[in-house]
Symmetry: C2
Subunit: 502 residues, 2 copies
């Protein structure tokens, strides 16, 4: 969610706009709510760091966005299935390495992770338990064929699952608190709010509880307990100069306040100096702190490894007794290539039962591999040529390259070499449901038609394939102007939001 | 405490200083603690508003400052005595008006308040209950004659009592939380901290609990309950463009979260439009909200009344059925002139018993009226000439003018006309105890010898002289460089701090 943060940097100038009447609020009402929301956000730590030791409120959606209750509940129910899926893949590392073999030449970062995973496997895993903090992202798809039945579909790829460094959980809980405050405090004073939602009764009752701020620390604490040494610490593996540190800080403070567990923040570079106990492989930091849990908030993109030293740090963690959140097989199970393979019903059923698979597949969008020896390649190209706006062309490589839309898809599929094309994936384009909303950043409002992306957190702990816990862990709704296509002028202006269930 | 806020505005450039080793911490340790403290402060809302929709952490003292436990406890015990004193004065308004008669010609603001008070009295008080949120301020006086026995003495005047708009209660609770976190989280990791305090055991146990953030809303809520109408609101009477609003917001949020009481924020100017119910004198805002409690966070300085309209607002509140926090007699009881009169033992005993008076007088500093017909005037002048550094000359007028120190006292007492001199008060100069400390603002540290001022909050509710509650309500420690005399280059750089009881 780097886009949410980039909007703070102020690189995109935003003229002071008067709030349009998108919500049916008067300008006075909207301005009042904006002031109340901003004050609440700041006082409660919904902040990001800004230059010169300043803080800015996290950009937010002024009021919660309507969302179908059934679709939200479906997302809640889906969460633990992803925990199960990732764990089962992790138990089958040879399959995992095999699926990734075809992309390694084009993707040296994934190649390095596979190499690390094989090394861990060859040495024998020091730690049999695996901690997961995942986030599965969905959009609400307006099916043109069935207007009555908007449904959630996974974004980007079929199994759009963030298995490492899934962020904004704490900020999302704070956004939920802010919206709960606004709706419960002002629903009587400002009747236009109820009019906007076209409903009666207590508006705040439509907001689902969002325990992300408690669920994630609880998962880390239970991982710590499972490790079994009260004096051991949790290490947050962080990026240098992290700008989203307030989100991470809330995890740290809750671990201390609720569990008296100490958190150390270390970069991958610093972790090169960590050592392992020769007999137990316990991970020791600064010569004295034993690490129960290593929680990655970095390490997911090639730029997190500028030198070999960061790989030494990753290796130290990965081969140790510490419980990793996630370990390298969990990390690899979240790669786009694996997600693409799992779009194949027979592959998905390698890990999941028929009934589990059907539940998962209900939120899959159509997805098409572009292997050069694929028998379907010509018919796929023809389908794209006939309906260019129905597809998106996406690079498989982690953290790399742009997506292509519309006629660019046709052009690129023509101009790319078969090998290059193989490193891309084609998928049906989701038609996201649009909602009018007011977005606020730096205390200023902008309004218009918006689209939202629902992220569902799942927290899990497995030991030797046995579930210790595996449960839904709160949600994150992000909202952006629907004109915000990648490459558009307002790119990057996404805000934290909340679902108003209807 | 405007000085604490002015330091945010950045008008005094502060060069990036390396942290000197004042506390015996290494530079690495001090920098680490600074980062941890700043992050905690920001996440927990210890903030002030900065330009361009930004927030800055409130300037703070890096570590708590040593303070004698007995003196702190004395301050706690003193708190309710001031609640009693103010209430008893308020029950004797004719005495109050009489004491203030001599300053009215020089002080049109106080004259206006007296006029208002008399009007309320003439009309008959609509509301018999009086709510108080007071703060009594002390410094730790290093008695040159008795080095073993530093003791707290009231600042500025003998009875230095803020009876209106006593602020920074919530920020002070947050500072206490921050220091509690630092000491409990890092006392083992950074042994230099224990060395600095020259103590062993759990360092955080030396921090007194500070319930100000709960005590003030609780007082307002009990006032609201005493008013007796569940649907009524609390109005915060605020300054336009208040820069310390986060402090006030915490009161508002706690009133909502803990008591489901609605707060409206209105300026004195806006309160001109409030109306009173003709039969009950109930105060009605916006034609629909009945006001149970009017809580002043403005109205204490002449600049809060730029036009007659603000006086209309004050009048609307003052003559209404709403419980005022404070009412105008409480307000007047906190004026410097009244405080000076109470320095006279016989006047103090008009309101307090002999034993109560003795407890209060133990924290009084020597104070000398300068009335032109005073028999002592010549001997006072001689004493000042003999020891100019032993005295401070202070204007009686509320919110007005500088204090004079040293030879300036001698000069001013010579050059002023007898009438002008009468508007000043002379008092013994406190020799405040100095402590090395590191102060942080805008994420930057400065260190040196510091002095601290302890504020003790008292919350009270009386009805017709009968106490409903009257109790200590938390504390505020402010610390500043001891070179920070008024008029000095670093004027205004005070920070929130905490006492470390020894």
């Amino acid at each position: 969610m780097a886009d949410l943060l980039s909007s703070i940097a102020g690189t995109i100038p935003l003229a002071p706009l008067s709030i349009k009447n998108e919500l049916g609020l008067s300008s006075t009402e909207a301005t009042f709510l904006l002031q109340e929301a901003t004050a609440f956000a700041a006082a409660h730590g919904m902040l990001v760091q800004a230059p010169e030791a300043r803080y800015a409120h996290l950009p937010y959606c002024l009021l919660p966005v309507k969302f179908p209750k059934k679709q939200f509940e479906k997302g809640v129910a889906l969460s633990p299935l992803f925990g199960t899926l990732v764990e089962r893949i992790s138990q089958d590392p040879n399959w995992l390495h095999e699926q990734l073999a075809s992309v390694l030449s084009e993707d040296p970062f994934t190649a390095r992770l596979v190499q690390l995973s094989k090394k861990v496997l060859a040495e024998g895993r020091a730690q049999s338990a695996s901690l997961g903090i995942f986030r599965s992202d969905y959009m609400l798809h307006d099916d043109p064929k069935d207007e009555q039945a908007a449904k959630i579909l996974q974004v980007t790829l079929n199994v759009e699952l963030n298995t490492i460094s899934a962020s904004f959980a704490c900020m999302s809980s704070l956004a939920s608190d802010m919206h709960h405050y606004l709706l419960s405090r002002f629903d009587q004073d400002i009747p236009s709010i109820a009019t906007y939602y076209n409903t009666t009764g207590a508006l705040a009752d439509h907001l689902p509880s969002n325990n992300a701020l408690k669920a994630l620390p609880s998962a880390l604490a239970r991982g710590h307990k499972h490790y079994g040494k009260a004096s051991a610490v949790v290490v947050f593996v962080v990026q240098p100069n992290e700008s989203n540190s307030v989100d991470q800080r809330w995890l740290e403070y809750t671990l201390w306040t609720d569990y008296k567990i100490q958190v150390l923040r270390r970069t991958l570079n610093e972790m090169q100096h960590a050592v392992q106990d020769k007999s137990t492989r316990a991970l020791i930091v600064d010569g004295k702190y034993e690490v129960a849990v290593a929680y990655y908030r970095s390490g997911y993109t090639p730029t997190d490894y500028p030198t070999e030293q960061e790989w030494v740090g990753r290796y130290n963690i990965e081969t140790s007794l510490a419980i990793k959140c996630p370990n390298v097989t969990y990390h690899l199970a979240g790669t786009k290539k694996v997600q693409q393979v799992l779009a194949n019903p027979s592959q998905l059923r390698r890990f999941m039962s028929e009934s589990e698979s059907k539940i998962l597949e209900a939120c899959f969008t159509g997805l098409y591999g572009l292997e050069k020896n694929s028998a379907q390649l010509q018919s796929i190209k023809a389908a794209v040529a006939a309906n260019p706006n129905g597809y998106v062309l996406k690079p498989q490589r982690e953290g790399g390259g742009n997506n292509y839309y519309g006629n660019d898809v046709v052009d690129k599929m023509k101009s790319m070499s078969p090998t290059e094309l193989e490193s891309y994936i084609l998928m049906d384009r989701i038609v996201p449901q649009e909602t009018p909303a007011v977005l606020v950043r730096n205390g200023q409002a902008i309004s218009g038609a918006t689209i939202s992306e629902l992220g569902m957190f799942c927290v899990s702990l497995f030991d030797n394939g046995k579930s210790i816990f595996n449960e839904h862990g709160g949600h994150l709704l992000r909202t952006k102007l629907s004109s915000t296509n990648e490459g558009g002028v307002a790119a990057g202006f996404a805000v934290v939001s909340s679902p108003f269930l209807v």
